[in-house]
């Protein structure tokens, strides 16, 4: 299993954020974790990234226990934060090169160009400093970085927030490519429509656990109206 959460609990003082969260993501699968504000989405990401330690339960990345070896877990994960912020005074190419260097990954020029090509960033922009980039362009650079790292797991934090419809569509096409390569993708979002469009499975996060899980079926994939209903119920419960 590429990503696995087993009975994760997380308390902050008296506040119980996660209460036995259990789910898993296979290689080549896109899993959307849906939930309202404060449902525990960011905490879940932190636990997979090893940025926090669970009170109980375990988070595993490609069978590596995150708690016991966070660096090894991070070496298998590419993470795209909600608001992509990179080094403004470096170019796209330099940003990726530098961050790959930090991650001790392969920094071959061809690899970087391939990744930039894959995300569809216009070629003229590759050697421009990020200072003048739009939000969508920045996100493309961050995803290019994730692709260039050639890791089996992709974590996305609210990936389509603030993107215009065209950029969102571009982004969804990218996720398809990743799925074909066998990457396991976990996206944390409250964008119901977006999730319905690309996800293979959708988990509803409420009160710190998966309240319900839906699996895409046929060409229709999800019943959007039913999804919406679920979402509101989960929100009400939280």
């Amino acid at each position: 299993m590429a990503l696995e959460a087993v009975g994760l609990e997380q308390n902050y003082g008296t506040q119980r954020v996660l209460r036995g969260l259990t789910f898993s993501v296979r290689a080549g699968e896109i899993y959307a974790l849906l939930g309202g504000n404060g449902a525990g989405k960011s905490t879940t990401l932190n636990l997979f990234l090893g940025l926090a330690r669970p009170t109980a339960g375990s988070a595993r990345v490609c069978d590596v226990e995150v708690g016991s070896d966070p660096a090894a877990a991070r070496a298998r994960i590419a993470y795209v934060p909600e608001n992509v912020a990179l080094y403004e005074h470096l170019t796209a190419r330099e940003n990726i090169d530098y961050l790959l260097t930090l991650a001790r990954a392969d920094t071959a020029g061809a690899l970087i160009e391939e990744a930039l090509d894959a995300v569809g960033l216009v070629r003229e922009a590759w050697d421009r400093r990020l200072g003048g980039y739009s939000k969508g362009m920045r996100q493309k650079v961050a995803i290019a970085l994730a692709i260039a790292r050639r890791v089996p797991v992709l974590l996305l934090d609210e990936p389509t927030a603030g993107l215009d419809p065209r950029a969102t569509a571009d982004f969804h096409r990218l996720l398809e490519t990743a799925r074909i390569r066998g990457v396991a993708t976990l996206m944390v979002t409250h964008d119901l429509l977006g999730a319905a469009e690309v996800a293979d499975r959708i988990g509803f996060l409420a009160e710190g656990r998966i309240e319900a899980e839906l699996i895409a079926e046929g060409t229709e994939r999800f019943d959007v109206r039913a999804l919406h209903q679920r979402y509101l119920q989960a929100g009400a419960a939280a």
Binding site: G50, L51, A71, A72, R74, V84, H89, T101, L102
Partner: protein
């Protein structure tokens, strides 16, 4: 290597960082230049005074170097120049050389009445202290470090990159340590580059240059460690900057000023005045006592003149100079006490290094550059030794009553410059080392915590 190159590029592309480093480089270069020129000015002034003195000496030679010249008159009217040239490292740390006299004329009379003479000093110019490399090191380099280090972590957080960086498979703390290391290296480069050039120009000794560089490295490292510690623990950049500037105020301005106030109260040095008053009494009292009372102790000290030291009731040069020498001897105890109080102040200053790295660095660089109070005391010691040479030179003429002629003026002893009294005091060096290592230890712990 690639990673370091990137860190360097990232840092230098930040306008504030580049400005701070450039400014430090320029100020360090200007300070080294100013130090070299101040050093050259002092040397030139010594030469100028030597020229004037040579003319005065020649005039005395003509006036008193008659075939039947009396050594008593010659010794009374002839001054002998002593001077204290700046050490080859003084350009970096002028220390007290702007207020202590480095030229002094002495004659055969009582030394204690001559030794504390002041030279012309413009006190208003001396008040703020010299602008030299030591100033740039002690006051300004920490501020450059603060500018570079205060947002080490918080800057990434405020720019929104911290989560992305934390999600990379990087060993905890490594990134921040590497970045702090790059910053430390650049500050040292900007600071020490001009100093090393200056040392080459001044032909300073390797050992001294090495110690001074070591002090600079430890001192700047202390601030970098502190910067890392605060930068890693603090939340906001503005808060970090304010905290670090606060540390700077306390360690560089406040602790030394408080300690100085405490020190000058705890160890008063009014004894300097007391000893000159006592010396005057000793010398002038001798006029009103029988000649024997002066000559007996003198002969006891100088048995070689036993047979030639008998003088009658009237004025006699033998008695006159014996009286002056005995006047000096009479206050020897007070001189020792005075020197001890000065030494005590120095010792406590060195101990203060444990509380303030600035005070430790200041003690060290000036001791190495041989331009502090101890250096001046070494000069006074050398003048005292020279004064003994003068006695050894004049006494045979005086007591054997040999004529003092033109030729004899040429034989008068010439002041030989003192050797360097430069040393490396252990206490402040140890203090600086310990403080610097503790700051880094705190910084490393803080940096490790940041990522997790």
């Amino acid at each position: 290597m690639n990673r370091f190159r990137y860190e360097l590029r990232l840092l230098l592309r930040s306008r504030v960082a580049a400005a701070a480093l450039t400014l430090l480089l320029v100020l360090s270069a200007v300070a080294v230049g100013a130090g070299l020129s101040a050093s050259a000015r002092q040397t030139a002034l010594i030469d100028r005074v030597a020229t004037a003195q040579a003319r005065d000496f020649a005039a005395a030679t003509t006036q008193y170097g008659k075939p039947d010249g009396e050594a008593g008159y010659a010794a009374y009217y002839t001054f002998h120049l002593t001077s204290d040239r700046p050490s080859s490292l003084a350009f970096a740390a002028m220390g007290q050389r702007d207020i202590q006299p480095y030229v002094l004329r002495v004659r055969l009379l009582g030394l204690q009445a001559q030794l504390y003479e002041t030279e012309t000093v413009n006190p208003e110019l001396a008040l703020p202290g010299p602008f030299d490399f030591a100033f740039v090191l002690i006051y300004l380099a920490p501020l450059a470090v603060i500018v570079l280090m205060h947002d080490l972590v918080s800057g990434e957080r405020e720019a929104g990159r911290l989560r992305l960086l934390s999600a990379l498979p990087v060993t905890p703390g490594q990134l921040w340590l590497r970045r702090a290391g790059v910053r430390l290296m650049l500050v040292l480069l900007a600071l020490l580059g001009p100093f090393l050039v200056g040392a080459l120009v001044a032909k300073a000794p390797i050992w001294g240059v090495a110690i001074l560089s070591l002090v600079a490295i430890l001192y700047v490292a202390f601030w970098a460690g502190l910067g890392l510690m605060v930068g890693a623990w603090g939340r906001r950049s503005a808060f970090n900057a304010a905290t670090l500037v606060g540390c700077w105020i306390v360690l560089v301005l406040l602790v030394p000023a408080l300690a100085n106030a405490a020190l000058s109260r705890a160890i008063p040095v009014g004894r300097g005045v007391d000893l000159t008053l006592a010396q005057r009494e000793a010398v002038h009292h001798a006029w009103d006592v029988p000649r024997e009372a002066v000559m007996a102790p003198f002969v006891a000290k100088h048995p070689e003149w036993k047979d030639k030291a008998r003088v009658g009731g009237g004025f006699h040069w033998k008695w006159y100079y014996a009286m002056h020498e005995m006047g000096d001897d009479g206050v020897a105890g007070q001189v020792a006490a005075y020197r001890a109080s000065l030494a005590a102040r120095q010792a406590w200053t060195e101990r203060l290094g444990w509380l303030s790295p600035a005070a430790a660095a200041q003690s060290l660089v000036h001791r190495v550059a041989d331009s502090d109070l101890q250096a001046h005391l070494a000069y006074q010691d050398n003048v005292t030794a020279f004064h003994r040479h003068l006695q050894d030179f004049y006494y045979p003429y005086l007591f054997s009553e040999r004529p003092f002629t033109r030729k004899d003026f040429a034989r008068a002893p010439v002041y030989a410059p003192r050797g360097s009294s430069s040393s490396t005091p252990v206490v402040p060096l140890l203090a600086l080392l310990v403080l610097s290592l503790s700051a880094w230890a705190g910084g490393v712990v803080g940096a490790r915590r940041t990522v997790s």
